[in-house]
Symmetry: C2
Subunit: 256 residues, 2 copies
DNA sequence: AAGTGGTCTAGACCACATT
DNA sequence: ATGTGGTCTAGACCACTTA
């Protein structure tokens, strides 16, 4: 299989070999050297042509399978999946990343940044704090291409982000700020429901009162499973669409 | 670590060892033998106590990690994740399963089952058919505990499910019917948006006209990446909430 | 120093597909 | 008969954390 040769992987570098292989195959897919439905090089081909172990090649391919780029058929081979099935659905992103991905220019108008002293019980419980003044709240009107997209209220634990009150939340992405402080976000639980914008909300979002809106509640966790952020976002129903990829779980007991 | 001994795995059976190990550890978590935040047995412990290779033990643990039951910390160990983070979010389920999981009794009222001859272009394209009469449409009012929950319109390729017109879609789950015919569903792409119920829709859903509703579009694929179903569902905004778990992807090349 | 997860090797046998 | 993915082994070295 042309395109894969021993020189393509660096065994001494700090980057794991399987990650390099993953990037190599991904590149072949994205540049069209491998097209949809086509058979990808087999595990053994990848292993021998790159001079690595089959298990290492397999690790790379497995990752691409779980990310939706490839799918395997036992006895036949590994095939390139339909691009529709490998869209970056269900990836945890910031509003900023989300908008950029949609081809829109993200923006923010800061409505409030303060130590919160009247936090709903539900939020306090979720964030694992008991008293008042333990959370910082950020309220922002998020814009896309300059026009209102959603109304966002975040709560973060003061103990973990005491420096937040000094940050510039007008322009920057909150998630990028957190990462620059070595707070690694790992996953988030989201709940979505359809609702109507109240009078105040519709005014800020510049839509008629009673317009449909998508209410998204998100609890973000760090790589140590600690809740780091509770966000309630109200998106304009006419401008926003949420996408996700759902997977079927295997049955227990070897049935399937 | 008590609870894991050589007799617990069957090396001759048809069930892979790592699946058995996965089930064993999962059981320890669900029965409380391992509680939230506690350290799970290490890869080497599992391997030696069960008399298997470390790589096999690791395969089982990796699966549980990717399913959200455990999380690893390099150099420290593997820990049991918060139950909130391992809820079955983002799993592909039928309406029937979904309702049962929410503790509601699912039901259906068949509104239409026919060969569809006026299918929107978008649906035809998605399903990969060109002409008319190649899709079967199913329109049902779905109920939960006897009260209307959503209005569901499905399109399936006639060529793949010619027997569908004879099926009982009043009581049974469509997905269970497909599975009984050896059609394995693997994943689905979903798009959600907030909207308002039209007059006809609100009447069927027994809500006031102009009520908020969650519009869900789903395209379901088989394990061979073939689209098998296109569904448009309109859920009552006051009764339904969609949940998902989002994960952060790793950065490439150590740039971060 | 000892234990942990992260990575990697060089083999092996199996069931299944294709030729 | 050959090639494929699926599974499994019995080692190995590394960076990291904890004691």
């Amino acid at each position: 299989m042309r395109g894969l040769s021993r020189g393509d992987v660096n065994k001494d570098g700090s980057t794991p070999i399987y990650s390099q292989v993953e990037a190599l195959i991904l590149d072949m897919i994205e540049t069209g050297k491998l097209s949809t439905g086509e058979r990808a090089p087999s595990e053994r081909e990848v292993a021998t042509s790159l001079g690595i172990s089959r298990m290492t090649a397999r690790a790379a391919i497995s990752k691409l399978v779980s990310d939706g780029y490839l799918h395997t058929v036992a006895g036949k081979g590994t095939f390139v999946s339909d691009p529709k099935l490998r869209q970056d659905l269900l990836e945890l992103t910031s509003f900023t990343e989300d908008m950029l991905r949609r081809g829109l220019r993200p923006g923010a108008r800061l409505l409030g940044l303060e130590v919160a002293d009247q936090v709903p019980l539900k939020v306090r419980r979720t964030m694992g704090v008991s008293g008042d003044s333990e959370l910082i709240s950020v309220r922002r009107l998020r814009t896309a291409d300059g026009r209102p997209m959603c109304l966002e209220t975040s709560y973060l634990p003061r103990a973990k982000v005491p420096w937040l009150l000094e940050e510039d939340l007008q322009s920057g992405s909150l998630y990028r700020i957190l990462e620059s402080r070595s707070i690694e976000l790992a996953k988030a639980e989201e709940h979505l429901e359809a609702t109507l914008a109240t009078e105040e909300e519709s005014e800020l979002l510049t839509v008629p009162a009673g317009s449909p809106a998508l209410l998204i509640e998100r609890i973000t966790y760090t790589d140590r499973d600690e809740p780091i952020e509770y966000v309630k976002s109200l998106y304009r129903g006419d401008r926003y669409r949420f996408s996700a990829m759902l997977f079927k779980k295997r049955k227990k007991g070897g049935g399937s």
